[in-house]
């Protein structure tokens, strides 16, 4: 089993690498690129994490799986708060998000936060895609280390 610290440092390096390798005119691609990397990984880990779970019966069931099992595997904790408008929008709140905990407990470094959330957004989107839900996942931070992930299910 790999150690937590190693994973966090690896994540930091990935963010730094993608940031430095992006050319000047495509700085706005940074988040998209990290998100895409997460997406691929999310697809694969979803299969692994659901290996011994029974079939999901509803959309809410899948979201609950993300909040509990998936989050426990990725972030060592469950989502603190889940809200939904019952029309395909879910807001997952994590009061102590793993990649932000070490960074700050106030508004300091707030502008650096989005790039540390992109990979996880991709992970969630990839996992949901593999479980049959097409969606858009975005994240927002108002005070570190708390952040909110918004999942919008796309219906065709």
């Amino acid at each position: 089993m790999a150690d937590d610290v190693l994973f966090e440092l690896l994540h930091m390096e990935i963010v730094a690498y993608v940031e430095n390798s992006a050319k000047k005119d495509e700085k706005d691609q940074l988040v998209a690129k990290l998100e895409k990397m997460g997406y691929r990984v999310g697809q694969s880990v979803a299969e692994r994490f659901t290996r011994d779970t029974p079939r999901f019966s509803s959309e809410l069931d899948i979201i609950k799986f993300i909040c509990k099992d998936f989050w426990t595997n990725v972030c060592k904790k469950q989502i603190d708060n889940l809200r939904t408008n019952h029309q395909g929008v879910y807001v997952l709140q994590d009061n102590k998000f793993r990649f932000l905990v070490q960074m700050s407990a106030s508004k300091q470094y707030l502008e650096a936060a989005p790039k540390y959330l992109a990979y996880t957004c991709g992970l969630v989107r990839g996992a949901l895609a593999n479980l049959g839900l097409n969606c858009i996942v975005t994240a927002e931070v108002s005070t570190m280390p708390a952040c909110k992930f918004q999942i919008m299910i796309q219906r065709s």
């Binding site: 089993m1 790999a2 994973f7 440092l9 993608v18 997460g38 990984v41 694969s44 994490f49 509990k68």
Partner: protein
């Protein structure tokens, strides 16, 4: 059966698959970004170095290891304590040079390469090259200048994965400019 069954309960460990696949996504991004395998190796080494210089702090704080008296002790600590703590494996230390300044770490199973197959045209790529950087960075922080490289890799059809570590010199404490 509970849904939690079969999951790791150790709070300090991350899911192995997540870690391995995350590393994989990094390598595949690098392969896309750079044309030559050498460049990818170099980039992985550089990132490993950045990780190593930070990782060593965590290692020393948690393991309570002391300064090493000789290179043999260093080798033992890397294999039995370092690799164990961070990757959960214990490589074998072998192939000591006569002068005692070079040894090999032999990895039976490399967690970074769990789901990996190297295509033929990538024969120059050292998939796990990040490990070299990590070892180099970590040892530099404890004042040892070393050269780390892959000499054998299961991914390339060798029987085992072998990393060679060569001691170059001791780094002396630098005196800040303007002080004696």
């Amino acid at each position: 059966m509970s849904r939690q069954s079969g999951r790791s309960s150790d709070p300090r460990k991350v899911s192995q698959e997540l870690f391995t696949l995350t590393y994989g996504s990094l390598v595949s991004q690098l392969v896309k970004d750079y044309e030559s395998d050498e460049e990818v190796n170099k980039q992985l080494d550089k990132m490993g170095y950045n990780i190593g210089i930070r990782l060593v702090e965590d290692f020393l704080a948690r393991s309570g290891e002391r300064r090493c008296n000789d290179f043999r002790e260093t080798a033992d600590i890397i294999a039995k304590s370092g690799f164990k703590m961070f990757l959960g494996i214990t490589p074998t230390v072998s192939n000591w040079s006569a002068a005692g300044d070079e040894f090999s770490l032999v990895l039976d199973n490399n967690p970074l390469t769990d789901f990996v197959e190297l295509p033929e045209e990538r024969s120059q790529l050292n998939y796990s090259n990040i490990l070299c950087g990590v070892i180099r960075g970590a040892l530099e922080t404890v004042q040892m200048d070393v050269n780390v490289r892959f000499v054998q890799d299961i991914l390339k059809g060798d029987n085992q994965t072998e990393i060679k570590v060569k001691f170059i010199k001791r780094l002396e404490d630098a005196v800040p400019a303007g002080e004696e």
